[in-house]
Point group: C2
Chain length 211, copies 2
């Protein structure tokens, strides 16, 4: 879409930068997983055409959303990472993800999901510093934890709560706020608190009434 909307409007301007096909998915990937190599991105995007990916990265770099960095010799490779401007897209992607969840049906099987999806999914699902509690998630073979408001891979040392279930259970926990969709050991209250930080907790109840 090299063609701009040519409107004096922040939304049109934002879309001029990240509105092209694949662009926001590149940002999603960098937000959820951190700095990545070209071919990692290409794989994660379900193969979007190497030329397209190259074009998007070049454009995003030109716009100051993404930065290219060369790693030191031991692992000589180039990685792409978000600039501060690019990091600023987190709330946008976060809201978009929650809106998308409304019309996305629960996952059918864990096979659909790429290995290592859980930490990224949690990072995208929850705001940055939602709670000081420590919660461990064991979802369909994946393992990740909330520690001090941050998401880590792997188990937690002394979790306040452990959430156990499959991807469908996590879906219902996040979308329907159904604490019964997963198995929770420890302090259920901290999980409820975490859910209260979701955009949906303000929106969903309002849907039946007038918005």
């Amino acid at each position: 879409m090299s063609k701009s909307y040519e409107q004096y409007c922040p939304i049109a301007h934002a879309l001029d930068i990240v509105g092209e096909r694949w662009s926001l998915l590149v940002v999603r990937e960098l937000l959820a997983r951190g700095p990545r190599r070209y071919s990692d991105l290409h794989d994660a995007l379900g193969g979007c055409g190497t030329n397209i990916l190259a074009a998007r990265l070049k454009e995003l770099e030109r716009q100051g959303v993404v930065r290219k960095r060369r790693l030191p010799p031991p692992a000589a490779s180039t990685v792409y990472e978000l600039t501060e401007l690019g990091e600023g897209l987190r709330p946008v992607v976060h809201e978009l993800a929650h809106w998308g969840l409304r019309t996305l049906s629960p996952p059918t099987a864990d096979d659909d999901l790429a290995p290592g999806w859980l930490p990224g999914a949690l990072r995208l699902a929850f705001p940055e510093s939602p709670t000081t509690a420590c919660i461990e998630f064991r979802i369909g073979g994946e393992l990740a934890s909330f520690v001090g408001g941050e998401v880590r891979e792997g188990a937690a040392d002394t979790p306040d709560a452990v959430v156990d279930g499959d991807a469908g259970g996590l879906y219902h926990l996040v979308v329907d706020h159904d604490l019964g969709a997963v198995d929770i050991r420890g302090r259920r209250a901290v999980v409820a608190e975490l859910l209260a930080t979701l955009p949906g907790s303000a929106l969903l109840p309002a849907l039946t009434a007038a918005e």
Copy 2:
């Protein structure tokens, strides 16, 4: 883009629905100005090709984002309006607008702006119920007011504060939180409170530090 991203991911799914060119601008228009006719949309979008607009509206309707409604005889006409699902995009568009503002330079002249832009701009800029105060905005010939957390066209009866200036001043007020960029009569504090509800007030200070 009739072609879906075909990923099990809420963001990819959201973009399958509103990620096509022009789609989010249609939503923006309906969010900011309420139900509109086909040709009003076509004008507001800077002429995006009637076939494209028709295709987008059809797709958005099919996806349950937009609804077509026929007005009663007196003003026999068809209008498009957002469904509850479509209204749910408000936080998304809201965040996107604030991100876009970061790299959008101040307006050069008021000529750039379509008549009646102010109420829509205020509705997009500020969250839904930010304050109970009553504030009147007089920006470059445009007139709009915050009353009870809602934006109205025209003057306010008994405003707590009156904000006077041009479009550039409003820009700096919203982006830089510069209360000096406009002329404020009455209680400055209620304007400062309103600014505190912006996403930027949480993000901008954090940019110099680590995000």
